[in-house]
């Protein structure tokens, strides 16, 4: 196949979206009762599950304890059935380790860790089905899970990817767009203040285009935050209805 046409002349992408349209986002909070917080999110065909434990005492070696704030421990993994060919190593490979680190950095910037000195917060993210934008789905799910756990956050952390094709920024890339060459930029944003929690890009892009690309990613993150906010509110309504308050 001679190179997919990522953006047609009429402005449609492979799956029928326009350049700045996001995939359909669906999410639920409180999917598991055992954990302190949990959430499930679908961004198009990318499905992620996030579970939060804590804050609790620091487990394992005591030396990691921080006296002024909580330690955030993240683990990212992908289910063996998440890709079109069965994945041999669901976690612990280089990519997952890197992703765990990214998640940790993101949430250290967002969680008010100084409220919980000498404690630990565990965030586990599992990708159940992968179709591009794994990092952003993971972040968004974890945000919901952290909220579900009742841990105070500075703001929602919303993540989204953006790519650049034919001088046009595309937002929320699917797998075909990510692997089709070209740039992919992942951004985690605290939308209210416009603070960037994490920005990552590992392909070449001309300096002139960076601004437009970031602009597009930010707009996308803000749209995601609206969706997440809605999910949280709906969840609260349901929960309060159940408890009869």
């Amino acid at each position: 196949m001679a190179g997919l046409e990522l953006l047609s002349d009429q402005g449609y992408r492979l799956d029928g979206r326009k350049a700045t349209e996001l995939r359909k986002v669906q999410a639920r909070m409180g999917v598991f009762a055992q954990a302190d917080g949990s959430a499930y999110i679908e961004q198009g065909n990318t499905k992620a599950l996030a579970v939060v434990y804590g804050p609790h005492e620091v487990r394992g070696s005591r030396s990691r304890t921080l006296n002024d704030r909580a330690v955030i421990n993240c683990q990212y993994s992908m289910a063996t059935f998440s890709t079109s060919e069965r994945k041999r190593r669901p976690h612990g490979d280089r990519k997952s380790t890197e992703m765990s680190l990214h998640l940790k950095q993101t949430f250290e910037a967002a969680v008010l860790t100084n409220l919980y000195p000498r404690s630990q917060i565990d965030i586990y993210v599992k990708i159940l089905q992968s179709d591009g934008g794994n990092y952003s789905a993971g972040v968004n799910a974890a945000t919901l899970a952290v909220i579900d756990a009742g841990i105070p956050l500075r703001d929602y952390v919303c993540a989204c990817t953006a790519g650049f094709v034919d001088e046009t920024p595309l937002t929320d890339l699917c797998h075909a767009e990510e692997s089709g060459g070209g740039t992919s930029l992942a951004m985690a944003l605290l939308p209210r203040g416009g603070h960037i929690a994490l920005l990552q890009m590992d392909a070449r892009l001309h300096q002139d285009h960076l601004e437009t690309l970031m602009e597009a990613a930010m707009t996308a993150c803000k749209s995601i935050s609206k969706v997440l906010d809605q999910v949280v509110r709906q969840h609260l309504q349901e929960v309060s209805a159940l408890t009869g308050e």
Partner: protein, 1064 residues
């Protein structure tokens, strides 16, 4: 926001079956791009017109196989569905798909793309087990139905398909949506479009034949794309473009590399591909991957001249071995339309016993014979036809193709000219009505007038400046005018103001308009030997844009404030102006005025004598100042190393009865150079301006320095006469060329200059963002920045530059950073396009000249006619012959000293030549033949007599054949005497020059040059728009004599004075 649905796809990659899930989003509102839309779709850009009888929706199969039919501009209201487009993309590859895309983008074609698969109601998911083509047909039908409903049934929709089952199945389901087969559709709706029906039949036939092919393998299979890619990366294969040797198309082809990053350093030359098996179905121009053969099998290239298409046998003289390889795969086909000739009847019958398949011979010798199937072979014999290639299977010795359009009978003038155009990719349809509608009206009833708004915004030079133009006699597209006047003295002494005023074409042609698009595709006006194809409609090029005398015109001006003494530039002003040219002079008249001869200026004849003298004195003074300035500018450039180059041109002089009396070189007048120099100056300053304003995206023109190894032939030839040529820099080259003069034979210098020109590459347009600054240099003109600004009527590049200059001026006026009209990448692509078109135009012009040369000699009997015998000069030797130049006709050609029977030319006592058995010996500066009667030698630059005859060719163009008649000059070389201009006419200007010479030492050199024989600088040729007496007159006469049917030529008298020389 969007409704979402998901579909499953199954696809295999790397051989394994992988299940891939893709999302598929559907939406309610998908623009329909029809002007009849009732639902207020967001239709942007191209919209289908409402005034057609129906809309036609081709299904996937039709779009895939019969797209060429749909390319006819007459077929309007075509709705391509996304399904059909994807089918084209997946099955026919990128090239075909890009063609479809450009078709959809082209505003001249009435067709749009409807994204049916993203529309909620027109999309239908593929059912389990449904074959792909059935599903596609269903999708397209669904889309057609939706389209019909969407337009509220205002237009009937016709869906065309090749699938007869579909016609039956869907035919009567819906009112207003009709299903027809393509053939039926063409027959019912376009009965007048015979060409489309013929094309349809020819493609259908080609498709049918493809299935029934033998299984015997003629060629090795090409390797799959992944293997090739990996091989190229690892350095195992070499990637490059295949170039077939024109004279040995069967055997020799070379592969030129694309990338310089070759891992193997030994490969710095081209790779030779020998023979058809090694070439493995690659056609000239294809991008191929080559595998090198082991060194033991490397061969050299053949050095001998070949006669016609004859197969040479026996021992061949070969150069040293060069890398040799074989084609293992084709990365990108580069097939275009080819002109072919049908064989005469006898051949047809022998070839087509089983079906109507015939082999046709392409006009281009580098292309192999093509097999096509047609039922019209009998009618079309000896006709020239346009053919497209379809495929070349490994089981077939020849490629398969189908015919597209019939040009006409071979040998007829119109056919031959069309052939030349098509072979060079020149498409010049008459301007369409829509384009002409964009033009301002100017007729005798409603004359065009100035727009008062423009009068306010433009600088008005009508009363303040004496503006005049100098052009060839009878020129009607006046691009450029000049003005010069004295300014009040400044602080540093007296000042002059030199102005160059160029027709403001971009005022009339807005960017993106239909006329602009058409001009962009043409890129230049095409000048053939007997006709001209304008870039812009005549109302602009000959009237509104043309800066005619005595009328108000818009112009784009550059004005320099110069110091009168040193001619240093104080200030430059660029801007739009309003001018009225006072005098429309021609070169001869201007020169006469300068020389002080009696001359009547037509504009002054009617004035009373007193007034006339005053005005005449004014004009002459302006001309003299201008000449003075131009000399200075020339001297400046000369000190930088500007070159005088030489091309070959034919000029004929006619008497009253239009008979050719002699062939004389045009008198090189100083005023030619004056005008050219001002234009070069304007171009240079505009280049500086736009480059400063848009450092990343300015369109400039550079002339890369030639590669030193190309000068070897020049140096060797010069050495034969005892001259040394220093080619280290352009200045050194110019000086050593000036020294290399043989007082007895002025042709020597001329030929050396021709050779120097040949060694150089062409000047090219480029975008400043795509090239490092040190490559901006113009080698020939010795300028660091150069562009084309002065001929917007006949060159598209000048129009781009005009727009850039306008933007730069706007930016300066504080409009903020003006929006760059195009990104550097787009501009670079555009520059490449213009370069290609210019090359095509030059080539077409050259071919048409050759065509007319052949016509000229065709009905002259070489044995008896005096005109077929001419004097020639040897300028290069080859293994079995030599290359000669015939100054009388400006012809170059090969003369053989050895024929196929192995006989060589032997010279008798009195100089006559005869064919005798013998041998041939070649060295660097002479070639000698040894026979029983003695040895005879031909030296470089020796004058010999040759006989010119025409070698007719049925499939290709006719060629001129030269045969040596005598080793002595034909007669006292009369043409040479004429190459030195008579001294008398130059006497006066010499005197004037003496004065200038003291002021500028450097200009002395230039003056000396000016006195010498007819060398015309390339730039001068460029700006001179026509020359009389000229080639055109000669050929016009030839045509009248030789051809009866010229009614179709459509060359008006107006164009008679217009043929231009090729732009450099």
């Amino acid at each position: 926001m969007i409704k979402t649905e998901k579909v499953l796809h199954l696809k295999s990659s790397r051989g394994r079956k992988v299940r891939v899930v893709r999302e598929h989003y559907l939406r309610e509102r998908v623009p329909c791009y029809s002007s009849l839309c009732q639902a207020e779709c967001a239709n942007e850009g191209k919209v289908l017109s409402g005034d057609v009888t129906h809309y036609v929706v081709p299904d996937a199969g039709v779009a895939r196989d019969f797209m060429e039919v749909l390319e006819f501009r007459e077929i309007q209201g075509v709705v391509f569905t996304q399904t059909a487009c994807q089918a084209v993309q997946h099955t026919r590859g990128r090239r075909q798909y890009n063609r479809l895309r450009s078709l959809l983008k082209d505003p001249r074609h009435d067709c749009v793309l409807f994204a049916n698969e993203f529309q909620e109601y027109s999309f239908c998911p593929r059912e389990k087990g449904e074959p792909q083509d059935k599903w596609q047909t269903r999708c397209v039908y669904q889309a057609a139905v939706w389209y019909h409903d969407h337009l509220a049934g205002l237009k009937p929709i016709v869906m065309i398909t090749e699938d007869q089952a579909a016609v039956v199945e869907y035919g009567s389901l819906n009112r207003g949506v009709y299903i027809l087969s393509t053939q039926e559709y063409l027959r019912t709706f376009w009965p007048g479009l015979q060409a489309a029906q013929e094309l349809y039949c020819s493609i259908a036939q080609a498709l049918q034949e493809r299935g029934s092919e033998g299984t015997e393998r003629e060629y090795t299979e090409h390797l799959p794309a992944e293997v090739l890619e990996a091989g190229i990366k690892s350095g195992r294969y070499v990637q490059g473009t295949l170039n077939v040797n024109k004279h040995r198309s069967q055997h020799e082809a070379f592969v030129r590399f694309e990338s310089s990053s070759n891992k193997s350093t030994e490969l710095n030359s081209d790779v030779l591909v020998c023979g058809g098996k090694n070439r493995n179905r690659a056609v000239h121009g294809d991008m191929v991957a080559v595998e090198l053969l082991p060194k033991g099998e490397w061969r050299g290239r053949t050095m001998a001249l070949t006669e016609g298409q004859g197969e040479e046998k026996g021992e061949e003289t070969q150069s040293q071995v060069m890398p040799t390889g074989r084609v293992v795969g084709i990365l990108q086909r580069n097939w275009r339309d080819y002109v072919v000739t049908f064989p005469p009847r006898e051949e047809t019958q022998s070839q087509s016993r089983n079906s109507q398949r015939i082999l046709v011979t392409p006009w281009d010798q580098r292309i192999p014979k093509i097999r096509i199937s047609t039922q019209q072979a009998d009618i079309l014999q000896d006709h020239r036809v346009i053919v497209r290639l379809d495929s070349w299977e490994s089981t077939s010795l020849y490629p398969n193709g189908h015919s597209v359009r019939v040009l006409g009978r071979a040998g007829e003038l119109e056919t031959e000219v069309q052939t030349i155009l098509i072979e060079n990719g020149v498409h010049v349809a008459p301007f369409s009505e829509a384009q002409l509608r964009e033009m301002p009206v100017s007729s005798s009833e409603r004359p065009w007038t100035l727009d008062p708004e423009q009068v306010v915004t433009r600088r008005d030079l009508r009363d303040t400046h004496l503006v005049f133009s100098i052009d060839p006699l009878g020129c009607e597209d006046v691009d450029d005018t000049l003005s010069i006047r004295k300014l009040p003295p400044g602080p540093r002494g007296p000042r002059l103001e030199l102005g160059v005023h160029i027709a403001d074409v971009t005022h009339f042609v807005k960017e993106g308009s239909l006329t602009d698009l058409e001009a962009r595709t043409r890129a230049t006006t095409y000048y053939l030997a007997d006709r001209r194809y304008d870039m812009l409609p005549a109302v602009l090029s000959a009237d509104l844009c043309s800066l005619l005398g005595g009328v108000d015109r818009y112009a784009m001006s550059v004005m320099w404030d110069l110091d009168a003494q040193t001619l240093a530039v104080n200030k430059v002003w660029y801007g739009r102006t309003l001018i009225r040219s006072s005098y429309q002079l021609h070169y001869e008249l201007a020169q006469a005025l300068l020389d002080g001869d009696e001359a009547d200026v037509p504009e002054l004849v009617k004035l009373p004598p007193g007034k006339r003298d005053v005005q005449l004195a004014q004009l002459i003074e302006a001309l003299e100042t201008l000449t003075h300035v131009a000399r200075h500018l020339r001297a400046q450039r000369d000190s930088g190393g500007a070159l005088e180059l030489e091309g070959v041109e034919v000029r004929a002089q006619l008497d009253q009865d239009k008979n050719i009396t002699a062939l004389v070189p045009r008198q090189p007048l100083e005023v030619h150079e004056t005008v050219a120099e001002c234009m070069i100056y304007a171009n240079h300053w505009v280049a500086r301006k736009i480059q400063e304003s848009f450092p990343q995206q300015a369109l400039l023109r550079h002339h890369p320095p030639p590669r030193q190894e190309f000068f070897t032939q020049l140096q060797d030839s010069a050495r034969a006469r005892g001259f040394t040529i220093d080619t280290r820099s352009n200045k050194a080259l110019a000086e050593s060329l000036d020294r290399a003069v043989d007082p007895q034979d002025p042709l020597v210098n001329r030929l050396l200059r021709v050779m120097a020109t040949q060694a150089m590459s062409n000047a090219l347009y480029f975008s400043t963002g795509a090239c490092p600054v040190d490559q901006y240099y113009h080698y020939g003109l010795a300028l660091d920045r150069y562009t084309h600004f002065t001929s917007p009527i006949r060159r598209y590049a000048d129009m781009i530059v005009h727009r850039m200059l306008t933007a730069a001026i706007a930016m300066e006026k504080g409009a903020g950073p003006a929006k760059a009209s195009a990104s550097s990448k787009e501009l670079e692509e555009l520059a490449q396009h213009i370069n290609n078109k210019n090359r095509a135009a030059q080539h077409a012009q050259k071919l048409s000249t050759e065509l007319f040369q052949c016509l000229y000699f065709r009905d002259k009997d070489p044995q008896s006619d005096e005109r077929c015998v001419a004097n020639a000069v040897i300028y290069s030797t080859r293994a079995n012959g030599m290359l000669v130049f015939i100054p009388q006709y400006g012809l170059k050609g090969a003369v053989y000293l050895k024929n196929r029977e192995g006989e060589v030319v032997s010279v008798m006592q009195d100089g006559r030549c005869e064919w005798k058995a013998g041998s041939l010996l070649r060295s660097l500066d002479h070639i000698s033949t040894t026979t029983a009667s003695g040895t005879s030698t031909f030296n470089l630059f020796q004058h010999i007599t040759v006989q010119i005859s025409v070698q007719p060719s049925r499939c290709h163009s006719d060629t001129l054949h030269l045969e040596v008649v005598s080793s002595k000059p034909h007669r006292t070389p009369e043409p040479q005497g004429q190459t030195t201009p008579p001294q008398g006419t130059r006497g006066r200007s010499r005197l004037v020059q003496e004065v200038v010479r003291q002021a500028e030492e450097a200009s002395q050199q230039a003056e000396e040059k000016r006195g010498r024989a007819s060398r015309i600088s390339r730039e001068e040729r460029e700006f001179r728009q026509s020359k009389v007496p000229n080639l055109y007159c000669l050929l016009e006469e030839v045509r009248e004599l030789a051809l009866l049917d010229i009614t179709g030529c459509g060359v008006g008298l107006g164009s008679a004075a217009q043929p231009c020389s090729a732009s450099a």
